[in-house]
Amino acid sequence: MKSIGSYLLFIGTLFTRMEALSTYVKRTIDEAVKIGINSLTLVAIVSTFIGMVSTIQTAANLVSAFIPKSVVSLVVRDMTVLELAPTITSVVLAGKVGSNIAGELGTMRISEQIDALEVMGINSASYLIAPKVIGAMLMFPLLVIVAGFLSLYGGYLVGTITNVVTGQEFIAGLRTEFQQYYVFMALVKSVVFAFLISTISAYQGYFTSGGALEVGQASTTAVTNSCIAVLISDYVVAQILL
């Protein structure tokens, strides 16, 4: 409970005593590029393979003359949009982005760079972390859209190549009873996950003390806590929005 209270107080410091807006604009763009562009390859690989595997496994479990083949892509679509694209992508990003944020801030803490900012009269939490949080909240939804698209495209490719479903059937399944609201839900989830991953990782890194060993521990704790927070908030958001 003490840690949660401390975390909430920490979030409060991110948006107080801020520097000039221009300082944040440039830093936010830099962070968005770092978080978004640098994660694109990983997200593409993970989401494409998840779409491929989902299609094969769903098709293998829907062997019945009464079930049209297009149901395969319908199931894959809903799984992807509602769960796989936002949640799995965020869990993967918790590992990549979360450990990066915690490691960077932890190293800055133990090498006195954060103290240097404070001595200059700069709110180090706000200066260093607010751009990361905003950058993540801007880029996660875009990455989730890319992940969703590639996941379905991967499913389409593997489905047609292995002949478990034809291209027409796959497209027809994707269009059947499509709920735009699910896309909205996925984007809401991605923004919530981005906020949680970036702030939890920043919190772990910012309050690192000791040396290199503690920076490593902070990164590990950041990833673990972020993943747990993503999964809990996934349930909470689903419960609220569905």
């Binding site: 520097e19 240097a116 001595v119 200059m120 700069i122």
Partner: protein, 249 residues
């Protein structure tokens, strides 16, 4: 001028500072000396506000810094430059960007003025032409000089140096000491240096404060320190055999 009154700080059940008081004059190189673990760095961190003392007050020219609101603290902090023990240069920025950082963040100065100021400071610390080098490409002594350039770039009134000679060879240490003293006199800053380097004590100690187990045991100048009768200070000063042989200056 900086005045500290009755600074006390405890971590857990260990008292680090026990009622330290003192005055650090403008235009002088003030040294805080003592053996490792006596609270020198903690006192410095209390003075710059990185650690909040349990009791006592730090005054910057009669402005109560310890109990100031955030706005006043920010104003005072923008008059402060600090050289950290590990230098604390930003790894991802080159020398020029590191030195320019306080100007970029804290001022609205036009870009060409900023560059002029940066080049002046780099030239002042003997690093002209090193603008585009990364911190990792510099030696320890050069990094310290970049740290000093960054500390003074914003026309600071107060300069703090936490063990500026740590990790440096004796010759480079003397260069850094001389640079700190010259800058103090040239810019009329109130300079406080934490050190346990005897060359610094003798070379630049206009005003010295000796800490022992959290207490201030002695205060004076480098002219008087070798004549001290305080046994703990004598043990500290003459721990080195060369010093025991009888040093004069």
């Amino acid at each position: 001028m900086i005045r500290v009154e009755n600074i006390t700080k405890t971590f857990g059940d260990k008292a680090i500072l026990k009622g330290i008081s003192g005055v650090f004059e403008t235009g002088k190189t003030n040294l805080i000396i003592g053996a490792s673990g006596t609270g020198k760095s903690v006192l410095l961190k209390c003075i710059v506000g990185l650690v909040r003392p349990d009791e006592g007050t730090v005054y910057y020219k009669d402005r109560d810094f310890t109990h100031a609101d955030k706005d006043l603290k920010t104003v005072i902090r923008r008059e402060i430059g600090m050289l950290f023990q590990g230098v604390a240069l930003f790894d991802s920025l080159n020398v020029e960007s590191n030195v320019k950082f306080p100007l970029d963040t804290l001022t609205n100065m036009p870009e060409d003025e900023k560059l002029d100021r940066v080049n002046f400071c780099l030239q002042r610390v003997g690093l002209e032409g090193s603008n585009k080098k990364m911190p990792s490409e510099l030696s320890g002594g050069m990094q310290k000089r970049v740290g000093i350039a960054r500390a003074i770039v914003n026309d600071v009134k107060y300069l703090f140096c936490d063990e500026p000679n740590s990790g440096l060879d004796p010759q480079t240490s003397v260069l850094i000491d001389d640079l700190i003293k010259e800058i103090t006199e040239e810019f009329n800053t109130t300079t406080i240096v934490v050190t346990h380097d005897m060359n610094s004590v003798i070379g630049i100690g206009d005003h010295i404060l000796f800490l022992y187990k959290g207490h201030k045991l002695w205060e004076g100048s480098n002219k008087k320190i070798l004549e001290t009768e305080v046994q703990e200070l004598r043990d500290f000063l003459f721990a080195n055999k060369l010093m025991k042989a009888g040093t004069t200056f």
